[in-house]
């Protein structure tokens, strides 16, 4: 056997022994009696622990607004070069959907269904005006309402009425 064949065979054997480390697609997940195809932009932490993800070269930062991959950061590569391009998409989608189960203010998953409530979940009081199913729009609505009430009180004070209009009406009756 000449050396060309020898080296080629060694090379090809090493291919065979190397196995398959790279995973292109996630196994289909059964959840709530339905099957889900997990895409690369889904949040791994909804099912996996950080220690598992370290093994996969993927770790999240703790900041709730930031989903960043931490890969081995070789000194020969500019840091901007390290995050895979598809994480830009993942970050964007994750932020748009607020899909972070560990963030206790978010309850919807990407499919739009309910998830199990966090352990410290409690129905908000009517006085606080908060909503369990949404965050941003409801919250601003409540603030708006509160502001209107304050403005009303301000007008009543201008008319030298020290208490609320409702209380005043009841006493008259």
């Amino acid at each position: 056997m000449n050396k060309e064949k020898f080296f080629s065979i060694i090379f090809l054997i090493s291919f065979g022994l190397a196995g398959c480390y790279t995973i292109i697609s996630h196994p289909i997940v059964k959840k709530d009696d339905s099957y889900h195809q997990i895409k690369f932009y889904h949040d791994c932490l909804s099912c996996h622990s950080k220690s598992e993800l370290v093994e996969y070269g993927q770790v999240y930062l703790d900041s709730p607004d930031q989903v960043v991959i931490i890969e081995p950061s070789p000194v020969w590569i500019t840091p901007s070069y390290v995050p895979p391009w598809w994480w830009d998409i993942k970050t964007q989608i994750t932020q748009e959907n607020n899909f972070r189960p560990n963030d206790k203010t978010k309850l919807r998953d990407l499919e739009g269904g309910r998830t199990s409530a966090p352990s410290d979940f409690s129905i908000p009081s009517r006085n606080s005006g908060s909503s369990s199913s949404s965050s941003g729009s409801s919250s601003s609505s409540v603030k708006s309402s509160t502001n209107s009430s304050n403005e009303q009180n301000s007008r009543e004070r201008n008319s030298d009425t020290p208490k609320s209009r409702n209380n005043s009406g009841e006493r008259k009756k």
């Binding site: 080296f7 190397a18 790279t22």
Partner: protein, 470 residues
């Protein structure tokens, strides 16, 4: 010494009018590869290979890429040949500016590991060469004598008797000439790498080879001392052929190249600082469509002149297989400094002709075994990321050994390289490399040292590459 003379005899006896080992060497000997960054590091890139250039050096290195990348480069190559020919010195230069590479890298989205593809265009060999010489050859030899056994040129130019086998001309002529070569070998490549174990990747590049080569040779012999007076007729039966004065020969060799090339690579990332790579380049199979033209001219003191009209020509198609190449390389990175080294083993005796007549094929392949040897080329390089700013300074050195047996060490090509590059935080990169090569060579117009040029060669290659990672 005896073997060297034998080598030279073979070398010079087969230069004219036939395919020979020089043709195989032209395609198999690749001085260096693509990429300003890699060349700035002396071409020591098997253990680095973390940009598009990996497709040419070590495709397994592509697994390191996480961002898509556009990559393109151009070069300006200057080739200077200072020749000594019978005590006379001549110089001849040629230059070319060409696109060196244009490609795209696409890392496939994965859950774990890495899967990266790349495709593009790589110009892998530049055939630019130049040679000029002139001087009085006082020996009793001439090209006219050599041509007696090689076709009809000397006969058609009235330099022989009517049998075409005898000539009174036996040297002491003023000889001059030039050779100008151009062309390039191009590869349209598809490349891929996959991380098969943690930090271990395999990769492959396959390429469709194309390209062209053209070599123009002008050669003349002149009777400046009137050694062939009016009393000497090159054709005794033709009085017009008295008083020989001048003989000119013009050759044009044109190739259209096609073929298939492939390369496998492995890379192992020991940790953030150390990487190893190894590669196998399989024989490239070249299919050559050759068009060869010969023209000539003779002039006599009688006022008679002759030329070959139309020029002699031949067309032929055949194959050349380049040898296996085995490469290993490493890189070590610490504190912004990367040091890398490569070694490449090339056994030039594995070059092979196919598709010529059986006897011609056997003769050429036998000569290849007799003339050539295995060589171990090496590359060394360094890159410093200045204060982690994205500004990078590079330097390197590499040696391409002469593939001929018994050649002295100054026939080995030695290259010194420098480079500078900058990559912005947005991923836009600019790289510039300066590659300076020096070596010596010899060439013979015919015979065994009877008409030899001693050449001192220098090349200056300025390579500019730009890329965008996003």
């Amino acid at each position: 010494m005896k073997s060297k003379i034998f080598v030279l005899v073979l070398l010079f006896s087969s230069v004219i009018f036939a395919q020979n080992f020089n043709d195989a060497l032209r395609l198999s000997f690749q001085p260096y590869n693509i990429g300003a960054r890699s060349l700035g590091m002396g071409g020591a890139f098997i253990g680095v290979s973390d940009d598009y250039s990996a497709t040419a050096y070590n495709p397994a290195g592509l697994f390191q890429l996480r961002r898509m990348e556009f990559h393109g480069g151009i070069n300006y190559l200057s080739y200077d040949n200072n020749t000594t020919f019978f005590g006379n010195q001549s110089s001849f230069s040629s230059s070319s500016a060409k696109l060196t590479d244009l490609g795209f890298v696409f890392p496939f989205p994965v859950i774990r590991g890495s899967l990266v593809f790349a495709f593009g265009f790589n110009r892998t060999n530049n055939f630019n060469e130049a040679l000029a010489f002139e001087g009085f050859n006082n020996t009793n030899t001439s090209m006219i004598q050599v041509l007696l056994g090689k076709g009809d040129v000397s006969y058609l130019l009235y330099l022989t008797d009517e049998t075409g086998e005898n000539t009174p001309i036996n040297g002491k002529l003023y000889q001059s000439g030039s050779i100008l070569s151009s062309g390039s070998e191009n590869n349209w490549i598809i490349s891929g790498a996959v991380e098969v174990a943690k930090n271990l990747s395999v990769g492959a590049t396959i390429g469709i080879v194309g390209g062209e080569f053209e070599r123009n040779r002008e050669y003349s012999e002149e009777d400046v001392n009137n050694n062939y007076p009016a009393s000497v007729k090159t054709d005794p039966a033709d009085a017009r052929t008295a008083d020989f004065q001048l003989f000119k020969l013009q050759e044009t060799l044109k190739w259209e190249l096609a073929g298939f090339a492939s390369k496998l690579g492995l890379m192992y990332r020991v940790n953030d600082a150390i990487r190893f790579g190894t590669t196998i380049k399989f024989p490239t199979i070249y299919t050559i469509k050759e068009h060869y033209l010969v023209d000539g001219y003779s002039q006599f003191g009688t006022g008679f002149s002759a030329d070959i009209d139309p020029p002699l020509e031949s067309k032929i198609e055949y194959e050349i297989w380049s040898p296996f190449e085995f490469g290993v390389g490493f890189s070590v990175s610490r504190f912004g400094l990367t040091i890398s080294g490569d070694m490449n083993l090339i056994d030039y005796t594995q070059m092979e002709f196919k598709g010529l007549s059986p006897s011609k094929t056997a003769k050429n392949n036998r000569e290849i075994k007799q003339l050539f040897r295995s060589v171990m080329d090496y590359n060394l390089g360094a890159e410093y990321n200045v204060l982690q700013s994205g500004l990078r300074l590079r330097a390197g050195y590499f040696v391409k050994n002469s593939p001929f047996k018994d050649d002295p060490s100054d026939f080995n090509r030695k290259y010194l390289t420098f480079g500078i590059g900058y990559i912005t935080p947005e991923g836009f990169s600019l790289d510039l490399a300066f590659v300076r090569g020096t070596w010596k060579n010899i060439g013979d117009n015919y015979g065994n040292g009877d008409s030899r040029t001693y050449q001192s060669l220098k090349t200056t290659d300025i390579v500019f590459t730009t890329g965008f990672r996003f």
